[in-house]
């Protein structure tokens, strides 16, 4: 116990996991919030210190129960997942800062404790997926996060009963996805006889022609495709994001799909060998075309949406297209771009959903006409939506620009400049739908009956933390791009330097 930091990998997951039952046992709304917040902050602190210690490209391994890797479960931290650990726990902390007020309005008092419990479990699951080095453990944590997510989404039912149907759809789709995934994991186990990622990597080398291995990859791609809302398996997503409570939407949009994408990347690079012929084929003929279709089709769909939350959900699917495109280049640059995109899009979407949530706090609906003219009445919040929107479009000086820029560079490096053109074209579509919101915010007269609402600092502070970080990461790219670069190189060369 004297060297706590040696146990940071497990504490990362353990603290929220431990606090979840405590939340239930305590059973008071305010206490639960405090506990949750404490858990989230300590996760963030741990994640940052982990990121710091692996920032030189090394990795940390932790053996659960003292059993050495191929036998026991191993937790591995390298720059790839440490980076996302920071994103997930950071977003969670910021979201929690403002959750208190928002939750009071959106969820019945008696459900608060359980809400926070589920939130903690969801956080546990996401962090666990990221940190574990065991393929079956990935599935377990994925299910922990997914199951609690279904509950969280269903909590939107107080405002709109359609949340229940959305949560049910999500449940079905998520479960199907998880099933596909676990079948894939089963096949891998069948072929290699081990569950440790790095052990599999060693053993799978000669098994490229094995049909079991090939089929397992197909299962995993589809399973994760469902979870990360890869077009056309995204159908659960607009509903879930639209009807879930704002806090949940904000948190999920910034983290859940990103974590699933991470799993796909991790499996492609650290479990399978990315230079397997069949993997290249999958990315070339399946993922890349679907990603490109998603970029355009979903942006067009977003343009025609009247409900801003739904519009942003579709925009997320389009953005996932960018990330998948980055991965499917199967190059180190593409992977860097995707990692930066994961991070930047995470904070961007969180900013957008959060400011939207505050804008529609009192009207309770998020149609375009509901935010009409709020630019004057709620200048600070509208401004932060504006910043988020600019970042989503990729205006220079915002975080979004950095990720698009890297992606464009990666496509040019990969020798397919036509993709760069497509990326720029689809960014223009993003301008259109963001502009529609801005237009309603700033260039229209507000509804007269809407009195000016005071927004407390507890909401403003987290919101502006996010908005400013949207801008900040547009200037200071040393952390995002630097870490992503190391992460991508490690994954690409499969360097796991254990210390």
């Amino acid at each position: 116990m004297e060297q706590v930091y040696l146990h940071f990998p497990i504490l990362q997951v353990l603290i929220p996991l431990l606090l979840a039952p405590i939340c239930v046992l305590v059973g008071r709304s305010t206490f639960s919030w405090l506990i949750t917040f404490f858990g989230s902050v300590s996760s963030l602190v741990i994640a940052i210190s982990l990121l710091h210690s692996v920032s030189d490209g090394s990795s940390i391994s932790y053996h659960i129960g003292g059993w050495p890797p191929p036998i026991g479960i191993e937790y591995v931290v390298d720059s790839a997942n440490a980076f996302l650990l920071v994103l997930v726990s950071g977003i969670s902390t910021v979201v929690l800062l403002y959750a208190r007020d928002q939750i009071k309005l959106e969820i019945d008092e008696e459900n608060h404790t359980l809400f926070y419990t589920c939130y903690l479990l969801c956080l546990t699951g996401l962090l666990g997926v990221l940190i574990t080095g065991d393929v079956f453990n990935v599935f377990v944590f994925l299910e922990i996060s997914s199951l609690s997510t279904y509950v969280l989404v269903a909590q939107g039912a107080k405002r709109d009963k359609r949340a229940l149907k959305a949560a049910f759809n999500y449940l079905i789709m998520g479960t199907v996805g998880a099933t596909f995934f676990v079948i894939g994991v089963g096949f891998i186990y069948m072929a290699t006889g081990t569950l440790n990622m790095f052990d599999i990597y060693e053993r799978i080398n000669d098994l490229e022609s094995s049909r079991t291995v090939r089929a397992s990859y197909a299962f995993i791609v589809i399973g994760m495709g469902l979870k990360l809302a890869m077009f056309p398996m995204h159908l659960w997503m607009p509903g879930a994001y639209t009807y879930a409570p704002t806090v949940v939407t904000t948190f999920l949009s910034a983290t859940a799909t990103k974590v699933s994408l991470y799993v796909l990347i991790r499996f492609t690079f650290s479990v399978f060998h990315f230079d397997f012929n069949f993997i290249e084929q999958v990315f070339k003929f399946l993922v890349m075309p679907l990603a490109i279709i998603a970029m355009f089709a979903m942006s067009f769909v977003a343009i025609f949406q009247k409900d801003i939350k739904r519009m942003l959900a579709y925009s997320s699917i389009a953005q996932i297209g960018y990330m998948l495109l980055g991965v499917s280049l199967l190059s180190s640059e593409g992977l860097t771009a995707t990692f930066v995109n994961l991070f930047n899009h995470g904070i961007t979407k969180a900013t957008l959903f959060m400011s939207l949530g505050v804008l529609t706090l009192y009207s309770g609906k998020s149609f375009l006409s509901d935010v009409q003219g709020l630019g004057k009445k709620m200048p600070w919040i509208s401004a932060s939506f504006l910043i988020g929107g600019l970042s989503l479009v990729g205006i220079p000086g915002t975080a979004g620009f950095i990720s698009k820029w890297l992606l464009v560079q990666a496509t040019i490096e990969a020798g397919v400049p036509i993709l760069a053109l497509l990326i720029i074209l689809s960014s223009l579509l993003a301008i259109v739908y963001i502009w529609k919101v801005i237009e309603h915010l700033y260039f229209m007269e507000p509804h007269s009956e809407l009195a000016s609402q005071k927004v407390s600092f507890r909401i403003l502070i987290p919101l502006w933390i996010l908005s400013i970080s949207c801008l900040y990461w547009g200037f200071d790219t040393s952390l995002t791009v630097g870490t992503s670069d190391i992460a991508a190189n490690n994954l690409f060369n499969n360097v796991i330097k254990l210390n």
């Binding site: 759809n169 197909a218 159908l235 607009p238 769909v301 025609f304 220079p396």
Partner: protein, 566 residues
């Protein structure tokens, strides 16, 4: 003295931030708006030659303060113009305009000192985005549409610049913003990008479209920066590129005719602006020291007298609510001071001796002559007569004299008058003491504008042109001022292409045509097609039952399996 080396643009951005956050008091804001350019002016004046401020961006090193004599002269005049423009706009209460002005001028000055293409690109887009708010600030539907068109063109200029810079970086690994040859793809793209902002022929129409659409004060600000920034960029990168001479010559020519028949006086000035840019572009194309001096000094003088003209017409617009020649006339009775300033501006732009235009334009004319471009020289002389016709005569004559319109507006507000006086003073001062200006030019000047030959030939040209005007007016041949607009090449994308697009869309789409009429409706039919594919009720966005979703998964999975196994 590290403080003095920070990028000047930061001062403006900081002021914009302060304005946005703190200043609720209108007077304080106006004071700030006036003080900031003065501070920047002092800073720029004291800058030493050299590269002062580097920033790391990705793996690139950005030069934010490249100070040499060329950038310094542009920096100075930009600060001066910002000061005059803000003084003129003292009465404006609109925070949006004030912030836009600060960001816009800051970006322009930043771009002047940018030592590499990446930071140039950022500032380039900064000017585009900030300036559009000066157009939107008028808050009418028309200004909104005009602003959108303007923004689209300005942004595409930036995008092309970005493309050029990317190609250059990819091929040479350098992002230096230096002199380049018009031989590679990258330089060609950059050239086009500069050309758009510089309003090259056929790329020019955003200028005439947008400047009359901005607010009274907005146009004064707009007229000073965007195009002159492009001139600076061209002078920096493409000095001595011969094609510029011909482009410039055409630029001096065609706006003359349009200006002559244009009714909106601010658009007349926009055409005139375009024509003056032509002189500068010719100077860049010639590329000798004398010619570049001419370009820089002409830009300097031009910013002043063009602002002055826009100010006086703006004052009229401010007081009467119109800037159309057909509605104005006889205003000298009640706005004599504005009329006087307008006359000084007109004399300067027509290059009467003792006014600023005379001492700067002749540098360029002389350079073309020395380098033996007789045809170009003749064109420029011709264009000089043209300048007299629209800016020298038309603007003051139809606004303040001509037939009495019956309007009796009050004299311009005091702040506008002060701004106009200072500008007039500078115009005359530079004309009388040209050496003040010559001393800050990029190269050493051994040129005497006031030789007897030169003065006489110029006076002959101008006086006889005036005589011709008198004769033509007496004979009644002068095109009358009527309420009408004139088509320019923007007609192609504002009317012609949309109609072609619609024809194509109509061919493709099976849209019920009988119920629709007019172009607007047809555009919306294109939207309708998209709506049918992507709209909320279309297949792409519908919420399906779980069964259908599972079916999709099955399809995709079969695909994946097929790819993997075979």
């Amino acid at each position: 003295m590290d403080f003095i080396q920070v990028p000047s643009s930061y001062i403006f951005y900081l002021a914009a931030a302060i304005t946005f956050v703190f200043l609720r008091d209108r007077t304080l804001r106006s004071v700030l708006l006036i003080c900031v350019p003065i501070i920047a002016l002092i800073q720029v004046w004291n800058l030493e030659i050299g590269n002062h401020h580097q920033v790391d961006f990705f793996n690139l090193q950005l030069e934010l303060m490249r100070v040499d004599k060329l950038s310094k002269v542009f920096g100075l005049i930009f600060c001066l113009a910002a000061f005059l423009g803000n003084l003129y706009a003292w009465h404006v209460k609109d925070v949006v305009q004030q912030i836009a002005t600060l960001v816009y001028t800051g970006s322009a000055i930043g771009a002047v000192f940018a030592g590499d293409l990446v930071s140039l690109f950022f500032y380039w887009e900064g000017t585009a985005i900030a300036s559009v708010f000066l157009i939107w600030a008028r808050r009418t539907e028309a200004s909104y549409h005009t602003g959108m068109r303007y923004l689209l063109i300005q942004i595409s200029s930036g995008v092309i610049l970005l493309a050029g810079l990317a190609v250059q970086f990819h091929t040479t690994g350098s992002i230096a913003f230096e002199k380049m040859e018009l031989s590679s793809l990258s330089s060609f793209l950059i050239f086009i990008s500069f050309g758009i902002k510089c309003a090259f022929p056929l790329l020019h129409n955003w200028l005439q479209d947008s400047y009359p659409a901005a607010t009274v004060t907005g146009t004064v600000i707009l007229s000073s920066f965007t195009t002159k920034l492009a001139i600076y960029a061209l002078a920096r990168s493409f000095a001595g590129t011969e094609i510029l001479i011909y482009i410039g010559a055409i630029m001096t020519l065609f706006p003359i005719f349009f200006a002559e028949i244009e009714n909106d006086l601010r658009r007349v000035l926009a055409y005139s602006l375009n024509n003056q840019l032509g002189f500068m572009v010719v100077g860049i194309g010639v590329g000798t020291e004398l010619a570049l001096n001419g370009t820089a000094s002409h830009a300097f003088a031009h910013i002043l007298y063009k602002s002055l003209l826009f100010m006086s017409v703006g004052a009229v617009l401010f007081r009467t609510g119109t800037s159309k020649a057909s509605e104005l006339g006889g205003l000298y009775k009640t706005m004599p001071l504005s009329a006087l300033c307008c006359l000084i501006g007109a004399a300067s732009i027509s290059a009467f001796p003792l006014f600023s235009g005379f001492v700067t334009k002749s540098l360029i004319m002389d350079a073309t002559a020395t380098e033996h471009y007789p045809v170009i020289w003749c064109v420029l002389v011709f264009a000089s007569a043209g300048v007299l016709s629209h800016s020298g005569i038309k603007i003051p004559y139809f606004t303040f004299f001509a037939h009495d319109s019956g309007l009796r507006p009050k004299e311009a507000p005091i702040n506008m008058l002060i701004a106009m006086f200072i500008t007039s003073f500078l115009c005359v001062f530079l004309g009388v003491f040209p050496d003040t200006l010559y001393n800050i030019l990029p190269y050493e000047v051994n040129y005497k504008p006031y030789t007897i030959s030169h003065v006489i030939s110029q006076l002959q040209l101008l006086c006889f042109a005036l005589l011709a005007f008198t004769v033509i007016m007496k004979l009644g041949f002068h095109p009358p001022e009527i309420r009408a607009i004139n088509l320019d090449s923007d007609w192609v994308y504002r009317k012609y292409l949309p109609s072609i697009m619609l024809r194509i869309i109509n061919r493709l789409g099976s849209v019920n045509e009988s119920t629709r009429s007019g172009l607007e409706n047809k555009i919306s039919s294109g939207e309708q097609i998209l709506l049918n594919i992507f709209g909320p009720t279309a297949n792409f966005a519908r919420v399906f039952t779980n069964g259908v979703m599972i079916l999709w998964i099955a399809v995709i999975f079969t695909g994946a399996l097929a790819i993997v196994l075979f």
